[in-house]
Symmetry: D2
């Protein structure tokens, strides 16, 4: 792995901590990101943003541009979706994590996002990654569904080479022979990446499993294994969701999930980065 220069452990004598406004990713506090797979409407987003912010969540995910396997599936609200995210951000104070699909959209997405997400389909889109190296906002860089750890880190190297060292890695499951679940979460990637790189790494158990009932156990496993955060999909009405409802948590039970994640975070010597203090259960 001699080509891991900027991303490699030897580049920096401490773990990288990424600043997102006043928030830190990679420090003691675990990053907790929640929100819908896709922005669907003003009402949907408002309800979710309100709900999660009341629970203390500081980061909201939501796709305005959606990469879909079928060209005939819902492709996202695009520019309109970005505006809805901004409105929610203004109203509820949540920071926005949203996907940027390609080089031509960086400029458009940039003002609306606090963290720009790069999806697994772009995991080896090196010319795009180089462009992301030129901006000054944090990149949430998902692993490709068939990327080895080394390929993933080398791809991140393209971003850092460009000058942007604010990269947060995200394990989101790999593609294997077993289709019992949507993807196979490679939990070992979390401690392995931490051996090889100074960059923070979070987990996405919603994409990683594709099954609601597995999201909490895999979130706990990720934290226990050393993840710097988790990103989960939540929806006010999963059954009505325009995409991936089956893997979305119910908004009205998210409080319970947060409690167990917070407890695990504290057991693991971390805290869960929320606006609210823990309350008596």
């Amino acid at each position: 792995m001699s080509d891991l220069k900027l991303v490699g452990k030897q580049h920096r004598d401490h773990k990288s901590v990424i600043k997102v406004g006043n928030e830190l990713v990679g420090a003691k506090e675990l990053c907790f990101i929640a929100g819908p797979c896709a922005v669907e409407s003003a009402e949907q987003l408002d309800e979710i943003a309100k709900g999660i912010s009341e629970l203390g969540v500081k980061f909201m995910r939501g796709g305005a541009y959606k990469p879909r396997t079928s060209p005939y599936a819902f492709q996202g609200l695009k520019k309109e979706g970005l505006k809805l995210l901004k409105d929610a951000s203004d109203r509820y104070g949540v920071k926005i994590v949203t996907e940027v699909l390609d080089t031509t959209l960086i400029e458009e997405v940039y003002p609306y996002a606090d963290i720009l997400q790069v999806g697994s389909r772009n995991a080896k889109n090196y010319s795009f990654l180089k462009e992301l190296g030129k901006i000054d906002k944090p990149i949430l860089f998902k692993r490709g569904m068939s990327s080895t750890i080394n390929e993933w880190l080398l791809a991140a190297e393209y971003i850092l080479m460009g000058g942007n060292e604010n990269v947060i890695l995200c394990e989101r499951g790999i593609r294997t022979f077993d289709t019992s679940v949507r993807n196979t979460m490679d939990i070992a990637a979390i401690p392995l990446v931490k051996e090889l790189s100074h960059l923070p790494i979070i987990a996405d158990p919603s994409q990683g499993t594709g099954q609601r009932s597995l999201v909490t156990p895999l979130s706990l496993a990720s934290i226990a294994a050393g993840a710097d955060g988790v990103m989960i999909e939540v929806h006010n009405e999963p059954e009505e969701a325009l995409s991936d409802g089956f893997q979305s948590m119910y908004l009205n039970t998210m409080g319970d999930m947060i409690k167990v994640l917070r407890a695990q975070a504290e057991h693991s010597g971390r805290t869960l980065n929320l606006t609210k203090e823990p309350q008596t259960v």
Copy 2:
């Protein structure tokens, strides 16, 4: 999954608890199994058995018959290895978990083992599994390296059909495209199996990762995800081990590992099944 009859959740209105002498697997206490990959000599086994029993470990693993990819690699001490296991068991009171390779060896291994381990290479050896259904000792049944969850549970069904319902499942990693680690541990299999079956499931992060530094984080992740136990490889001199030394924990640091696993077990509402009470760290 309509063919999951005896193994399926609907067969029993409660989780199965497997008795191994006076010990329980699948109850509140987590099963903790430690020992060398292979029995190599009287001295080696004595040192390890002594060491782990002093730490409170109740179950010792150790291979007398080793299935090896190359016919020219060390194949185990065979009958002599079984005797050494029995001696250690008598001396230190540890229960023995050891692999039985095929039908012809069941009779030989039976008297020496408290739990008979079935390796991943036998995951679909149905005629062998049927024979294991006829005995009255617990079976530790590892997942095949390319078995889906459904195939694994259906294979376990062959054992239960024969009359032996004392089956402990063991996730030990699957084979994927990524060779950064020896196998990819499918942590999601743990909660998924618990949804589908009443059988207990433990994890083997030594085989599952093939890398010493990953064994503790993946043990913690497994427990956090709901595993009923962990099995790990430990050696007094990993550098001199005749097989798999690179994934074996050092005997002289096992106490530290046990402390963190115990703490995680208790955080997860379980206990770690050891002979000793927790001591002040």
Copy 3:
């Protein structure tokens, strides 16, 4: 691959030719094996044996003992199936290829089989493979669904070490992420094995694809890539088959398939080993 001793190219200065009675496998003539997935009844087997022998086919496959994922699926006619195979062999002069599931069945299957087939589920069942090294009939040794080329050849080494060098390798598809087809046939394995070993290698495109329409193209591809034969599933009534009917060729169109395979064999500098001379199309 230093552990490839008896199986390796350096062991023998020429390609191995396996004798099956008066027939040769691995010589200029390509081995062509056809027959049902499972022996189902006297009538079924007679009709298929009659049909294929009239087309000149010399080798008939058919399972008497069937390894099935579900214990509740048809497991084969067992001893009765073996007798039916022998009857058909006597009546129509076809040589029998049938699977032996484990060590305890070797003695039973031996007298009925001209070639003993070892299925993919036994690809790493080393104690069984060692036993097969003690008999004097040819072994058709299928690749495991997740065996690397090296693991496969090392497993064959176990058979040769025992004294039986009459091993015919069989590529039957590997397990990958893509479930569009049942397995992914690894056609490159054919020339690669021929570089590494002196053993003959045939292809099983029925198991390898699991889809009838793909069997002829993949048979042609296998021959073009240098295979020493093909084994295909054929049934008089695929829609009524007790197992794997969807991948079985129709008996009444097998003549057409044979013509194109023969033509490809001859184009590739081989012949197709049939009792009959080519006829005018």
Copy 4:
């Protein structure tokens, strides 16, 4: 696969034939593309272009922009490479197949390419694929290393939706557990794609195997299975190549390869599209 509209078989009552100037892809004649992995220098490209055109080759491949796993590996000559390709095209009359890496480069690559190649890393880069739908030159669309057949065809649908129906699919191997070879060529994909779609499909056994000795056997297999062409890497000095020399054919033995491919094409009822008539061997 209800979302296969323009790409699906039902869209057109005949196989698509793509015109590249006066040449046809998908008709009786098989497309044969040869050339270096990367354009390295004027001398290298001239020698290869001269050599292959003397053998009758009509299409030359060569990368000017190279997507590389490591940012520190040779990234291609870029614009200068494109000019060298054009010069060679002018001098020797070969049509140029070269990769376009992203949307921002379409305009630059367009004038230099007769066929624009889209690599496996862009297999799910939908916004890029939509842009390619707006141009009027043929697209050689490689399968993603972990794309299912359905995902691949749906991705092609994005191109056709944009208005460009001149898509040539290219099987280039998928990523599996077996690292004996660089990729696993999925030969079954060739007849399967022809069942599902009207688009032509060619094979790339150089990328597909990553091993020189396997390129000819896999080319033959691809043609036997029904491929509409093959693309291979050839180099005047593979040992000195700046990328992928180990899988490049030697220029001075390409004539032999062409002879056997032509013979196989004719055996399969096709011809190999070359400027020269077959010569006596």
